[in-house]
Symmetry: C2
Subunit: 456 residues, 2 copies
């Protein structure tokens, strides 16, 4: 009965192709012993080779030694090649969460042993009951679609043939076949939360629905589909806009997306950049950047930031003193533009003239950070912007913060440093004003007086 | 504090527009009393009118009367117009689930009273704690995205201003303001499952995460987004292929969809047709029709069926004795086609010739149910198919089951009834054979002998 069910699971999820070399992660508990027993009984039918691996985490003193002895004896009796290892997890965890370290060390060990036997799959004894507990735990702690779908029947090289089997079915199988197993007393201490759920919550859910594991298996199946669909929906955008260690998407593209996809895309971009999950709060704060105008940024975890300017939304590593390139466009007057060093105001016929109104109506004004190749035009000559900034003794790290104001392909204003010549016979013009921000930007307090107008 | 939180919820979800007439569903319990109190205190700020309604379900004898008296007194004291009603729910439920009947009756009552006062919104006292319980209950019983997202902050005319408030916060508010309320003793009997969750499960989840309600609010927000995205993704298909009381989508269109959308589409089509949810099993069995070849059908609930032929997947009401239109195409030989009356075999140069092989290679063969306008071509005349079938005394209800075999726009074969003339000088031909199915289809046992060949 259980054997047939496991076989069905293996076929349904295509867990184990013919000719596989499967390494069973064998703790010695009822789940992994059952898994090993079932896989051995399916050896011919599946045409597979079965190995076992056991890592002694040395966390429970004599009990850990007992488990290792038990597993060795069992594999000898069942004639299964066993690979063992020993790691003093407490010693290497150094204050980090022991459970998490043990998990990492275990999977590293399993992958090494898999390589040693030239195998292709690691099989673990996770059951539908574990899945139910995982889903409940994630729900309690806060989860999205990924959290609610729990672990997968197959992921990379790890397969879970007992995925659709309940703990009760394992217990019945162990009893029926008279299989030996060990009990991990740490179940009652280290995995405290999971045990709370197992002992106090699941029995109540079973009173409401005796087949609660089946219900949750179906729910997770639906959610796996939904997750995949969301993933496929944002995948082309991720491929297009994730490059050079940063993710930058044009706002026009991003705003077209449904909210569900916006969140999915941000989450996946961050995961692709950092390998970590982005918290709900961080996802929300990135999304909320869209409601702002001008340049805004938020700090994320892992030393990353998200920022938006008028053109793009980006996620990238924060570099101290570094300023993200920015870009704004002004088409209507009056206009106000926030930049890293302060606020620029543009008005018709008020303030210092920088361009004729006629030209503005035709070309608009662009405010952006400097680019290689930028040149300033004076009456009788032109000069690379870089050279000009060096002459003006603007510190290198401040140069990227400067707002470069452009009409067409001509620089018309750099607050405090440069203003292009404008023929004042023009009836109407665009006038500018600059207000330094409080932040420690480049000191442009010399505004106007020190301004190297294009007229000089 | 609570007042501000409720105001934030109202704004965030745009629950109550200015100038609204709000009818508060007032049971007299702490949630609804708090809701009424908060809305009254926000009356000026929101520019709303507040009414209350109370339905006496007459389910708890004197306690029901006490609640009604309490609510009347409270509304008098607070100067709130109150609309009341009395329904003997037990009497009208007649064996149906009393809780469900009470719910239906209550919402009907609230909508009637809303009309009476010419109001636009019904406000209910559902809290984030109720949401958590709903999500857990649905998870335990089996849920998809819709079940896991629980109830909505706003649906049609119903708004839930306490959506983001926990039961603890309500209790603190009631205590702080010294608000009177009644306790519904039936909480401990009629809503048995919900109380199991409230008393036994939620406290454990709170031990794992004291802010579990906040966690679940976020999860449901994510799922509401995902649900809306799925809905929007299938909506154009629903609009295009749902008509005349049935849903029929070309297989070519359907097979293009991601599994998540296939399921969503089936679920929504069924709901649009019946107003009910389709079970997970039924959704799966509809999807599994795709893996079959030829004509197949499955029974759904509510007297509906789903079927597929070579061209379409349909969901429609099952009508006794009725046969769904069917359509198959044959392009390769040999071929086998299942029809409602039996199986048709097509082979090259074997069986009764119906069309030259040359013509077949060019046009293929179509096997479909009859259509208005179908005509049979004989040597010197043609005749409406309908007239022919009447002459042949084929019962009206059997006529739609007949497979009409067509080449180009010419009927070439109706098993047991008609076979078109074929010039046997053709070197190669398509030959046919018919095997009656065991089912009680039209009796085509007269095959060949009685066949009105086009040669007559």
């Amino acid at each position: 009965m259980l054997k047939e069910k496991v076989l069905k699971t293996i076929k349904k999820f295509q867990l184990i192709p013919k000719g596989s070399k499967v390494l069973v992660a064998l703790s010695g508990g009822p789940d992994s012993v059952t898994l090993l027993h079932v896989l051995l009984s399916l050896k011919e039918e599946l045409q597979i080779e079965v190995f076992a691996a056991h890592l002694n985490h040395m966390l429970r003193g004599e009990e850990s030694e007992r488990d290792e002895r038990f597993v060795k004896e069992l594999c000898k009796k069942w004639n299964v090649p066993l690979l063992t290892g020993r790691v003093n997890v407490k010693e290497i965890s150094k204050g980090r969460n022991v459970e998490a370290v043990a998990r990492d060390v275990r999977y590293k060990f399993l992958n090494e042993k898999l390589k040693e036997i030239d195998g292709n799959l690691i099989a673990t004894g996770h059951t539908a009951s574990d899945l139910l507990e995982t889903v409940l735990l994630n729900l309690a702690k806060g989860a999205g679609v990924k959290g609610l779908r729990g672990f997968l029947p197959k992921r990379d090289r790890i397969v879970r043939p007992l995925f659709e089997v309940t703990r009760e079915e394992v217990e019945a199988y162990v009893k029926e076949k008279g299989l030996p197993f060990v009990v991990d007393s740490s179940n009652l201490s280290t995995e405290y939360e999971r045990n709370l759920l197992r002992l106090k919550v699941v029995p109540v859910l079973k009173e409401i629905n005796p087949s609660v594991e089946t219900a949750v298996l179906r729910t997770t199946e639906i959610l796996r589909d939904v997750e995949e669909f969301l993933e496929l929906s944002v995948e082309p955008l991720l491929r297009e806009f994730l490059k050079d260690g940063k993710f930058c998407i044009p706002l026009t593209e991003f705003k077209k997306l449904h909210d569900a996809l916006k969140k999915e895309l941000i989450t996946r971009a961050y995961r692709a950049l950092t390998g970590e999950s982005l918290s709900y709060e961080n996802v929300s704060s990135v999304i909320s950047l869209l409601r702002k105008e001008g340049y805004k940024e938020v700090e994320l975890s892992k030393g990353f930031i998200a920022y938006r300017d008028q053109r793009e939304l980006c996620i990238q590593r924060k570099e101290e003193g570094d300023v993200k390139p920015f870009y704004f466009e002004v088409r209507e007057l009056p206009a106000k533009v926030d930049t890293p060093v302060g606020t620029l105001f543009f008005e018709k016929d008020r303030g210092k003239p920088v361009v004729s109104y006629e030209e503005f109506k035709e070309k608009g004004i662009i405010i952006r950070s400097r680019k290689p190749g930028d040149r300033l035009i004076f009456r009788r000559f032109s000069k690379p912007l870089k050279k000009f900034l060096i002459e003006k003794k603007v510190p290198a790290k401040e140069r990227d913060k400067l707002p470069i104001v452009i009409s067409g392909d001509r620089i018309i204003w750099i607050p405090g440093l440069y203003r292009a010549y404008i023929n004042d016979t023009h009836v109407s013009y665009v006038g500018v004003r600059f207000e330094k921000s409080d932040s420690k930007g480049f000191d442009t307090g010399r505004e106007d007086k020190a301004e190297s107008s294009g007229t000089c």
